[in-house]
Each structure stands twice: as C-alpha cells, then as structure tokens.
Amino acid sequence: MGAQALRLSETVRYLETEGLDALVAVNYGHNSFLESHAVFVLSGVRPIGESAVVVDRAGSSTLIVTPAWDAVRAAKLSQTSKTVGTEDLAAMLAAVLKEHRLDGRAIVSVGLSTLAQGLAKRTEAALGGNSRANELFIRQLARIRSPEELAASEKATAIAEQGYAHMLCCVRPGMHEYELAAELYCEMKRLGAEDNFLLLSASQHNLAVRAAGGRVLDIGDIILSEITPCYQGQFAQICRTTVIGKPTPLMQEKYAILQTAMRAGQTAAVPGASVRDVTAAMDDCFRAAGYGDYCRPPYMRVRGHGLGITSDLPGDLTAESDTRLEAGMVFVMHPNQYIPETGYLMCGEPVVITPTGAKALSARVAELDSVAA
C-alpha cells in the first residue's frame, strides 16, 4: 500500500475514533516548502490551483482540483476514489459533500486557515458553517516519512548535490548572480526537481542570503547558496558557502565553528530529544567561540526547520520549541550564522532522525568550498 492509500485508511480510522463523518482538506494552490500540503498528502497530486479532498467515514474519497482542465492529469495520479475539476472550488465542494451525503454532518477541516480569506469564507459556507478545524491532523499523520517518501528525499538531496557540483563548474568572476542561479536552477530541473526554494547571492561580506540579483561576481566574493529542490513532493535542502579565490585562514577558522555546531546538533538530535535541546547544542558552539550575542535575528534566523510538502514537523529549530524528535523525521539542520569578521556563512544538510542521532542525507557534508578566481 502506498503512502497516500495508507494515509487515507488512517484518516478513515481517525474519523471512526472521533465519531466524525468526514474530513475535508484544502490547499490554496501554493506549494510552501515550510508547510504541509494536505491535499497532496491524501491524494498524491499537486493540483495547479486551489484544491480539496473529501474523505468520508465509509472510505470513499474525492479530489477536487482547479482549474477544471487539470482534472484529466490529476485523475491519472490521484489515489482518491474519484477526481473532479472545477473553476469554483467552494461550489464544487458543496456538490461533492451532497454526493457523499454529508450535508449537515460532523466534518473536520484541515487547511482552512491557510486559504485566502475570501475563499475560506465561501468554503466554510459550503461546509455548512459548523465544521471543526484540526490543523495538526495531516502534519501529524505525515510526520514520519514513508519508505518511498524517504527515497524521494534522498533523491532530492542527490539532485541538490549534483546541482551544487554543476554550480562549482560554472561559477566565474564577471557572471551575474542571476546567471549562476539560472545555471543551478535549470540543472536541478533537468535532474527532475519540480520546484526549488533557491536562494543564491554573493558579497565580500554577506549580511544574509537572498534571491539572486544583478550583482556581478568578483574575486574574493563569498557565494551563499540555499539549494532546496523538490522531488515527488519532498523538499531537501543543502546550505553551502563558496569562495571565489583562496579562502583566508580567518574564513576557514570561522567556518569550522559552523561545522562543529552542525556535528553537535546531529549528535544531540536523537529520538525523544527536544528541538530546544538540539538548538542549544548548536548555539553552545557559537557561545564557546564568543558569538553568543549573535545567536538571534538578524544574525541568524533558525537552526533548521521542517521540510514540506508532506509534513513540516518538527517545525523550526529554535530555543523556544518543545517539539520532541521521532525516528524517521526528516528536516534540514543548518547552523547558518553571521560572524562579524567574515559575514554570513552557511552550512546545512537534510537529516533523518535515527537512534544514534541525525544522519545527513547528503553524500558530502558542507565544507568551505572555493573555486579558482
């Protein structure tokens, strides 16, 4: 049984346990790499526009996609009992609920809070105004990657690494940032990446990473890249730092702090550990090096985060999170950090939680790379 079929079955069991008649999951037509895509989790389809899945307690399920013409493609991919297309999601949802004989029945919704409020209001009206929300349900349901999802995460990681290797071959002083980003992005797409949260920027002293712009690369630049291809619904992220020319001993010394923090985080990230403790293990390395005051925005953001689009758990790796890690969770760990002497540096890998800690999915972990000037 595939992941979607299994999760449809688990959804039916949940409905039985809770005494509910149906679950309605919606998506707003965006594919956030930091959020759960409830429709994809249950159907295996990433519709082009806004979409919904209706699952009733008898085990029957319907996928609703927009625009209407996407239904042909979606029907071939969907694990639901039925697929329909429409230009008006809320109106079709009302019709599908009627078809499932769910008018006025006990319905739990997922994802309404992520919709644009205009559509959210119409969807709530279609649900009869008396559904209850459980925004956590799909995130929890998909928090552990299935074997095929883990394989897709590994493939996404391999695409990221091959893309980065391609980037190292392409980079040269005189290029625009956007040209280098185009090379990297298109190579990963050629390798099968269906989406990509790609930030790439360069400076002699970076404040943070950002989207590629018109800046012309120069000798001595530090190129930051946050490379996040998505393969079959699984995002994987690597964070890399590349110097054009020879890295200075100071750069190497400071980059080693990030690598130490990465290893400390991996060691601490065992099943049952709290995200707070894992974050502290990484922050401690910066504190020990004298950068404790920099363990906060704007000098860094978070020490890692979950990866969509199935489940974003364990969420952001922050000192405030009490979330407990579980074996099989996949997320990115990245002790990226602004260091006053060098600027912002990046070091990060996608990891899977194992009994001995967080195992990197990447074949080669981050080093301070350099390319010839």
Partner: protein
C-alpha cells in the same frame, strides 16, 4: 493561464530607479491621496501575496517573493512596508521598494501598531487585496484596529485610478521581447527531435539567463489535447512527425508577458481555424470594442471547432503586474476595451483525431487601434 505557483520567486528583481524613478511613485501615491480625500480614508492598506501582488507592486515597487507583503500608505505621514520574512531578510527586501521604512510583519504588534498610532483621530481605512489575506493575519489586523478604525474595501476604487503609465508600457515591451526570445528557444529543441520538457526547459533557461524574475511553462504530452505542468521525465519525442504545443509566461522587472508556442509538421484544419480566429481578434481589438462581441467573433472564426478547454472559456485578459489583471474576454463580459490597456489574447481548438492547437498575441490598446507587441511564433518545423 493558470500555472503552478513556485514555492518562491527566485529570479532577479530590484527597484530600478532609472526605469521607475521616485517621481513615478509620487504620481501614483498622489492618485491614491485623491481617493483617500474623496472617501475620507485616513490610509490605504495594500496587501499582496507571492501569487498576486499587482496593486502592491504598483504603489510600492515591491514584488512579494514569498508569503505576503503589505504597504501601509497614510494620507498624512510616512508609508511603511510590512513583509512576511524575518528581520534578517529586511535589508534584501529594501532593495525592491522606494519605501524606506520596511519591517518584518512577523512581530505584528511592534510592526503595525506603532504605525497605526501615528494616524490622527479615528475613522475608515481603505483596504486592497484583503480577499487574499489568510484569516489569522486578518484577525491580528482587526485586533489592532479595534473600535478606532474600520476597513472599507477599496479594490474597485483603486483599480479605477491605476491607468497604465507610459513607463509601464515600456517595461511590458521589454517583457514581451524577452518572452519572444524564450519562445524561439522553446521551438528549436523540438525541431531537432528533443522531447517537449527539454524544449520547455531550454526556453526557461533562456529567460532566466536574461534576468527573468519568474518563468512559468506548461506543455502538452498528448498532441495539444491537454496541458500539464512539469513532469520531470524528459521523454524523447514519441512521434517524430508530431507537432508541439506549449505555453510560457515570463515576468521581467515586475511585468508579465506570455505566449503559446505551437510547432507544426503537418498542416491541420484545426491549426488553420485557430490562426483565423486570432486574426479576427487582432483585427477587432480596438478602443470601444465590446469584449463579449470580440469573444463571439473569435468563436465564430474558430468554427467548426469549439474553444480549447485549457482556455477556461476566455480568449483574452489584461496582463501586466499580474498574469491576469482582469478584463476577461468571455461570452458574458460586459466591458469594452480601452486605450492604455494591454491584453494577452489566446485562442485554441482541439480535434479528437489530430490533436490541439493554441496561439496567442499581446496587444496594447491605443487611442485609435492597437499596437501588436508580439505573436506566437509561426513555427513550421519542416
């Protein structure tokens, strides 16, 4: 055309003061001030997300790469831009707007409330794009407004003052040139026998290497009967005699241009009728032309074929800072075309036996007729 929204807009974009200087925004804000005076609004809040941010970009220059952005534009005082990114990202976001006061919207109370406190008295605020806002953010906003201020939807009124500026038309022409180059790059790999996804990727790469801000493609795996987003299989051409159908949209300096790309190896009746239908549209697309009548004439010229399903019952719409600025040309449209509007026109048909064909053009409506910005390439592959 609906296309897959990427998780982030990765392409190059910064506020180009040479192309859109500060005085251009002063003119636009001046029009907004007049609206505020007419309606008694103390300020207008302009919201946009990564998918739709046309009004936000028009007033602020800011194009949302991720999540949301909101310009807080007061009648008296300084504007502020809120972005849904961390404080770490604020310096980079400042490069995209003329508004100097940019804050992370993640700490809502500290970003919004102090700005609101500077407004005198109480009353109404205009809101733009709020239908797109997620309910939790709207709840935070309402809490901040309390009983002191109320919101009035200003979408229609603001759309009314947004006439296409000459500097905008210049930027749309640049986007049009870019999509033409990318469209040519779409056809070439197919002509050489490569698969449709290889062709689409070549087009995307061409556009991105020319500083495209965003690129969207759709391709047909079934001879033009349907369109599909990226599959990633990169299969070779199954039939070396078959034609190709694809779609590409390119955003450049904030502005979209798009086109269908059809390559033919065998002359087909549906292709001929599709071309005839587009010619009809181009002949009639003039100021004062009724959109519903344009639609009827285009469908008439397409006979015996019906409109291709992927066009969702529309043969055109306005295009600019959004791929769909409204003004759909449908059977039930009630508007007429006006000078200063830019339309993307598209027609297509499908023959169950021979497959489908789609073609398109972009035109700027002028005082006396229309300026053709581009046509889909007429691609005879042999």
């Amino acid at each position: 055309m609906r296309t897959v929204q990427p998780c982030i807009i990765i392409g190059s974009y910064a506020w180009d003061q040479d192309r859109v200087p500060r005085d251009e925004f002063q003119i636009r804000i001046g029009a907004l001030n007049q609206l505020m005076d007419e309606n008694g609004w103390k300020a207008v809040l302009v919201y946009g997300d990564a998918a739709e941010h046309s009004a936000l970009a028009w007033f602020s220059g800011f194009t949302t790469r991720l999540r949301w952005g909101m310009a807080l534009i007061p009648r008296e005082g300084e504007p502020r831009l809120l972005i849904s990114m961390s404080s770490r990202d604020v310096p980079a976001m400042k490069l995209m707007t003329w508004i100097p006061d940019v804050h992370s919207g993640w700490n809502w109370e500290s970003a919004f409330d102090p700005w609101l406190a500077k407004l005198n008295g109480e009353g109404a605020l205009g809101s733009v794009g709020f239908e797109l806002m997620r309910p939790p953010l709207f709840a935070s906003l309402q809490k901040s407004l309390g009983n002191r201020f109320s919101l009035q939807a200003a979408d229609e009124a603001v759309a009314g003052v947004r006439t296409l500026r000459p500097r905008e038309l210049s930027q749309i022409r640049a986007a049009s040139r870019l999509v033409q180059t990318a469209g040519a790059a779409f056809v070439e790999p197919w002509r050489l026998g490569k698969g449709i996804e290889t062709a689409a990727l070549a087009a995307e790469r061409t556009a991105r290497m020319m500083a495209a801000q965003d690129v969207r493609t759709l391709v047909s795996f079934d001879g033009g009967r349907t369109l599909a987003p990226f599959r990633g299989a990169f299969e070779p051409q199954a039939d070396r005699q078959a034609g190709m159908v694809g779609y590409i949209a390119v955003k450049h300096m904030g502005y979209w241009a798009d086109m269908f790309v059809t390559g033919t190896r065998r002359a087909s009746e549906v292709e001929r009728q599709v071309q005839a239908s587009l010619r009809t549209l181009l002949e009639l697309a003039k100021p004062g032309a009724a959109a519903a009548e344009l639609y009827a004439k285009a469908i008439g010229a397409l006979a015996p074929y019906t409109l291709h399903p992927v066009l969702s019952g529309s043969v055109g719409r306005r295009i600019g800072l959004s791929l769909n600025e409204g003004g759909e040309i449908r059977s039930d449209s009630r508007h007429t075309l006006r000078p200063g509007e830019v339309y993307s026109l598209a027609v297509g048909g499908c023959d169950p036996q021979t497959g489908g064909a789609l073609t398109s053009a972009m035109v700027a409506i002028t005082a006396t007729g229309s300026e053709l910005l581009h046509l889909s390439p007429a691609s005879k592959l042999q």
